[in-house]
C-alpha cells in the first residue's frame, strides 16, 4: 500500500508534463536559438490563455493574438526576465484571466481547497453511516432497567 502516494505523484507529474510537451502552434520563425530559453518560453506559454479562443493556451492556438503573446514572452525572456517576471508582466497587462492555473488567493481559496474538503466530508459520511449501521438499533434502557443493571454490576464488583 506504500506505493499509493508514489503513484499518486506519478500521474500528477505526468499531468504536469502534458502542458510542457506539445508543440502546438509555434512557428519556426518564433523559436529562439537558445534551447534552454525556448524550453522556458514553451513552459510559460502553455500556462497562458489565448484570450480570443475558447480554453486554448497560447502555445496551442493559431490565433494572431496568441502569436503576438508568444513573441512577447520570448522578448521578455531574452531581455533577461525570470519566469515569474514574464508571467507577472503578462498578468499586469491582461489580468488574471490569462492564467490557466488560477493563483491561490482569497478569491480562489475555496476552489483549491474544495477537493480536499470533499474527500474529508466523504470519508466522514462513510465512516458515520458505517458506524451507525454496525450498531444494532435497539431501544435505550429504561430507567428501571438501568437501575437494575447498575445494581447487578455493583454486586459483581464486590
Amino acid at each position: 500500500m506504500r506505493a499509493a502516494p508514489i503513484l499518486c505523484g506519478v500521474l500528477l507529474a505526468l499531468a504536469l508534463a502534458v502542458g510542457a510537451a506539445p508543440a502546438g502552434a509555434v512557428n519556426p520563425d518564433e523559436i529562439l536559438a537558445d534551447p534552454g530559453l525556448e524550453a522556458r518560453a514553451r513552459d510559460i506559454s502553455s500556462g497562458l490563455r489565448c484570450l480570443v479562443c475558447q480554453n486554448q493556451s497560447i502555445d496551442d492556438s493559431e490565433a494572431p493574438l496568441a502569436r503576438d503573446l508568444r513573441i512577447l514572452v520570448r522578448e521578455r525572456l531574452q531581455a533577461g526576465d525570470s519566469d515569474e517576471a514574464v508571467v507577472g508582466f503578462i498578468v499586469a497587462r491582461y489580468g488574471e484571466f490569462v492564467l490557466l492555473e488560477p493563483r491561490l488567493g482569497p478569491h480562489t481559496l475555496l476552489l483549491w481547497a474544495a477537493p480536499a474538503i470533499l474527500i474529508i466530508i466523504g470519508v466522514l459520511v462513510v465512516f458515520v453511516s458505517v458506524r451507525s449501521r454496525g450498531t444494532p438499533r435497539t431501544a435505550p434502557l429504561s430507567k428501571d432497567e438501568q437501575r437494575r443493571l447498575d445494581a447487578a454490576l455493583e454486586a459483581s464488583e464486590r
Binding site: 507529474a13 512557428n27 490563455r49 484571466f97 474527500i119 462513510v126
Partner: protein
C-alpha cells in the same frame, strides 16, 4: 408543407407528454389501472410524433430547403450528404430535437418492454419521463423552434461550421445524447421509487441495464469527441479539460459510480438511499451538460443574457428537475430502509471506496468548471480554471482509485479476504513491476522519472483484470478441462467487467506513453527535403491544390522511410471552406502498433512549408482502451440476467459461485 407537419407533430407530442405526465400519476395514486395504462399509448404516440418531426427536419436538410431558417443557417447545397444529415443535430435547435427523440425512444421502450414491472412503478416511471418530455418540448417550441420559416427564402445556405464537417463529429452528438438521455431512465426510476417509497432488487435489476447502456454510449461519445480533437485540431491534443468536455465527463463519472452502486442494491439490498441520490445526480449533470454546452454560458456569463428567454427557461428546467427531485429525496429517502450489513473489507466496502472517489473526482471537475462562472457572477472578477488545476486535483483522486481497483472484484460479498486477494494479485504485481523496470530501461536514465510508474499502473490494471478471470476459472490450480469448462460457463457480465477494467488500464498506458515520450519537430521544408523523427525519415514531396465538394485544399505529400526503405506515403492538408472562409487542418496520421506519426502543415513562405511532426507513442491505446470499456459494457448487457424480457430461469441451485461481478 412537410415542415409545417413537423411543427404540428411536435405540438401533438407535447399534448401527449402532458397526458403522460399526469394521468398515470393520478391512476397510480388511486390504484386505477385504466388511468395508469394511459401511459403506454401516450409514450408510444410521443415517439411516433417526435420521430415525424425529426424526419420532417431531416427532409428539409436533405432537400436543402433554405426557406427553413434552421437549414439556411446550418447547411449549404454543396455540402456532402453525410453532413447534410449530421447538420440536423449540428446546431442548438436540431440537437434539442434529437434529445427529445431519444427520450421518447426510451419512454416507448419502457412502455413496450416493461410488462414485468409492477404496474404502479411503470406508470410512475413513464409519468416522470413524460414530465421531462413536457419541459424539453416546451423549451423547443417556445425558444428553440427549428421549424421557423424565412420569407423570402435565400438562394443558398450559410453552411455548417467546417470543424463539424467530419465523420468523428457527425456521430459524436448522437452517442453523447444516448448517454445523457439514458440517465433519464435511472432518474425516472429513482423518482418513481421515491414516490413509491420502495427500492428492491427488482428495481435495481431494471435500472442497471439502462444505466449500463447509457454509460456505454457516453463512453463511445466521449472517445469519439477526443479522437476528433486529436486529428482535427491539428496538434495532437486529445483532452483539454475544456468545459464542454467536462460537461460530458461529469455524467460519465457519476454514471460509472451508479453502475457500481446499483450492483450493491441488486445483490445485497444495501446502499439504496445513496444509489437513488446518485441516479438523480447523474441525470442532473446530464441536464447541466446539455445546457452548458448549448447555452453559451461557458464562454461568459454574459452570453446568458444575450438570449434571456432561453437562459431563464434553462434555469427553470434545472430548478424544477434537480430541485424537485432533491426535495422529494429529502422528504422520502429516510423512509427507505437498507438491509445488508457488511464488513469494511468486502465487495460492498470496495464499491463504497469506488463511489467515494468517483463522486469526489466528479465534484472536483464540477467545481473547477463552474467556479469561474460563479466568481464572475458574484464579484465580477474573471479568472480561468484550466488544465493545470484539473491535472493537480483530478489525478491525486483517481490514482488511488486505480491502484485499489483490481482488488475489488476478488473480494467476497459481506466479508472479504484482503491477504488472500493480495496473494492472488501477485502475478499482476510482478508484471507491473517488470513493466516499470523495462520502461525505465527502454526510456533511458534521462527520461521522465515517473512515467515508468504510469506504465506499471496500466499493466497492473490490465493484468489484475486478467488475474481475476483466471482465478475464477481456477487456472493453474484445477485441471485444464475444469478451467476451460469454468471459462465457458462464466457469465458474460463477468467477462464484461474484466474488459471494462482492463480497458481503463489500456487508457492509462496510452496517456502515459503520449504524455511522457512524445517527440516533436517544427521545421520549414522545401520539396525533396527530409526530416528525422523517432527513427523515421519523413520526406516532403511537394504541395498541390485540390478541390473538394465545398472546399479547396492545399495537399502536401510525404513519404516515410526507415532504414533506407520507403514504408509508406501519406498526405497532410489544410482546407479552406468556400462559404465560411474558415481553414481546417487535416493532419496526416500513420498509426503503428506502438504509436502514431502525426504530421500537420502550416503556412507556406519562401523558406518553405511549415511542417509540424510529432511521434505520439502509445496514443492509439487511449481510444482502443475506451472502446474496450464500451465493449465490456455491451457484453455485460447481453448477459441473460440483465436482458430485458428474458424468460426467468429457475434460480440456479448454487449462486455461491462467487457471484457474477459487475
Amino acid at each position: 408543407m412537410i415542415t409545417e407537419i413537423g411543427h404540428f407533430a411536435l405540438l401533438l407530442a407535447l399534448a401527449l407528454a402532458v397526458i403522460q405526465s399526469t394521468l398515470p400519476l393520478v391512476g397510480a395514486a388511486r390504484g386505477d389501472p385504466a388511468l395508469m395504462r394511459t401511459a403506454i399509448p401516450a409514450a408510444r404516440g410521443q415517439l411516433v410524433f417526435i420521430a415525424a418531426a425529426f424526419a420532417a427536419l431531416t427532409y428539409a436538410y436533405v432537400t436543402s430547403d433554405f426557406s427553413v431558417e434552421n437549414v439556411f443557417e446550418n447547411s449549404h447545397s454543396a455540402k456532402p450528404m453525410l453532413y447534410k444529415v449530421a447538420g440536423v443535430w449540428g446546431n442548438h435547435e436540431g440537437s434539442m430535437l434529437l434529445w427529445v427523440l431519444i427520450l421518447a425512444l426510451f419512454g416507448a421502450a419502457v412502455a413496450t418492454f416493461g410488462a414485468n414491472l409492477a404496474e404502479t412503478l411503470r406508470a410512475r416511471v413513464l409519468a416522470v419521463q413524460g414530465m421531462i418530455g413536457v419541459a424539453f418540448l416546451l423549451f423547443i417550441i417556445a425558444t428553440s423552434n427549428p421549424f421557423v420559416r424565412l420569407d423570402p427564402a435565400p438562394a443558398d445556405g450559410s453552411d455548417l461550421n467546417p470543424l463539424l464537417q467530419d465523420p468523428g463529429l457527425a456521430f459524436h452528438p448522437p452517442f453523447l445524447y444516448l448517454g445523457y438521455v439514458g440517465f433519464s431512465m435511472a432518474f425516472a426510476f429513482a423518482v418513481a421509487a421515491l414516490i413509491e417509497g420502495r427500492v428492491d432488487a427488482a428495481w435495481a435489476r431494471w435500472v442497471r441495464p439502462w444505466t449500463l447502456a447509457a454509460w456505454m454510449f457516453l463512453t463511445v461519445g466521449i472517445a469519439l469527441g477526443s479522437w476528433w480533437a486529436y486529428y482535427e485540431l491539428g496538434w495532437g491534443g486529445w483532452w483539454f479539460w475544456d468545459p464542454v468536455e467536462n460537461a460530458s465527463f461529469m455524467p460519465w463519472l457519476a454514471g460509472t459510480a451508479l453502475i457500481h452502486s446499483a450492483l450493491v442494491v441488486e445483490r445485497r439490498d444495501a446502499l439504496k438511499v445513496w444509489t437513488i441520490l446518485l441516479a438523480i445526480i447523474a441525470f442532473s449533470l446530464s441536464l447541466v451538460g446539455t445546457f452548458l454546452v448549448r447555452s453559451g454560458v461557458l464562454t461568459s456569463v454574459h452570453a446568458f443574457a444575450v438570449d434571456p428567454a432561453r437562459g431563464v427557461f434553462i434555469l427553470a428546467i434545472l430548478a424544477v428537475f434537480v430541485g424537485g427531485a432533491l426535495v422529494l429525496y429529502a422528504w422520502r429517502a429516510p423512509a427507505l430502509r437498507s438491509g445488508g450489513l457488511f464488513a469494511p473489507v468486502s465487495r460492498e466496502g470496495a464499491l463504497v471506496v469506488n463511489n467515494l472517489l468517483l463522486t469526489v473526482a466528479c465534484a472536483a471537475v464540477f467545481i473547477g468548471t463552474l467556479y469561474p462562472l460563479l466568481l464572475e457572477a458574484l464579484t465580477g472578477a474573471k479568472i480561468s480554471v484550466g488544465a493545470p488545476f484539473f491535472d493537480m486535483t483530478f489525478a491525486p483522486i483517481m490514482v488511488p482509485l486505480l491502484f485499489v481497483m483490481p482488488f475489488g472484484p476478488f473480494l467476497a460479498w459481506k466479508r472479504g479476504d484482503l491477504v488472500g486477494t493480495a496473494q492472488r494479485l501477485l502475478l499482476a504485481l510482478a508484471i507491473a513491476v517488470f513493466g516499470t523496470i523495462a520502461a525505465r530501461a527502454a526510456a533511458g536514465a534521462d527520461g521522465p522519472l515517473l512515467a515508468p510508474l504510469g506504465i506499471g499502473l496500466g499493466l497492473w490494471l490490465v493484468a489484475g483484470a486478467v488475474c481475476e478471470i483466471l482465478w475464477r476459472a481456477r487456472a493453474f490450480t484445477a485441471p485444464a478441462g475444469e478451467t476451460l469448462r469454468r471459462l465457458s460457463s462464466m457469465p458474460r457480465a463477468g467477462w464484461g467487467a474484466m474488459l471494462a477494467h482492463a480497458g481503463i488500464g489500456i487508457v492509462v498506458l496510452g496517456i502515459t506513453g503520449v504524455t511522457a515520450w512524445k517527440s516533436e519537430k517544427v521545421v520549414q521544408m522545401q520539396p525533396g527535403e527530409a526530416e528525422d523523427i523517432a527513427g523515421f525519415t519523413v520526406t516532403f514531396a511537394g504541395v498541390a491544390p485540390r478541390r473538394g465538394p465545398n472546399y479547396s485544399e492545399t495537399v502536401a505529400g510525404f513519404e516515410i522511410h526507415r532504414a533506407g526503405e520507403v514504408i509508406d506515403a501519406f498526405e497532410s492538408s489544410k482546407r479552406l471552406y468556400d462559404v465560411q472562409r474558415m481553414t481546417t487542418t487535416e493532419a496526416g496520421i500513420i498509426t503503428f502498433y506502438w504509436g502514431d506519426l502525426y504530421v500537420a502543415i502550416g503556412d507556406e513562405s519562401d523558406e518553405g512549408l511549415t511542417v509540424r511532426l510529432w511521434f505520439n507513442p502509445l496514443v492509439p491505446l487511449i481510444w482502443f482502451g475506451a472502446i474496450t470499456m464500451a465493449l465490456g459494457g455491451l457484453l455485460s448487457l447481453s448477459d441473460r440476467r440483465l436482458r430485458i424480457g428474458a424468460p426467468r430461469r429457475a434460480r440456479p441451485a448454487a449462486p455461491a459461485d462467487a457471484g457474477a461481478p459487475a
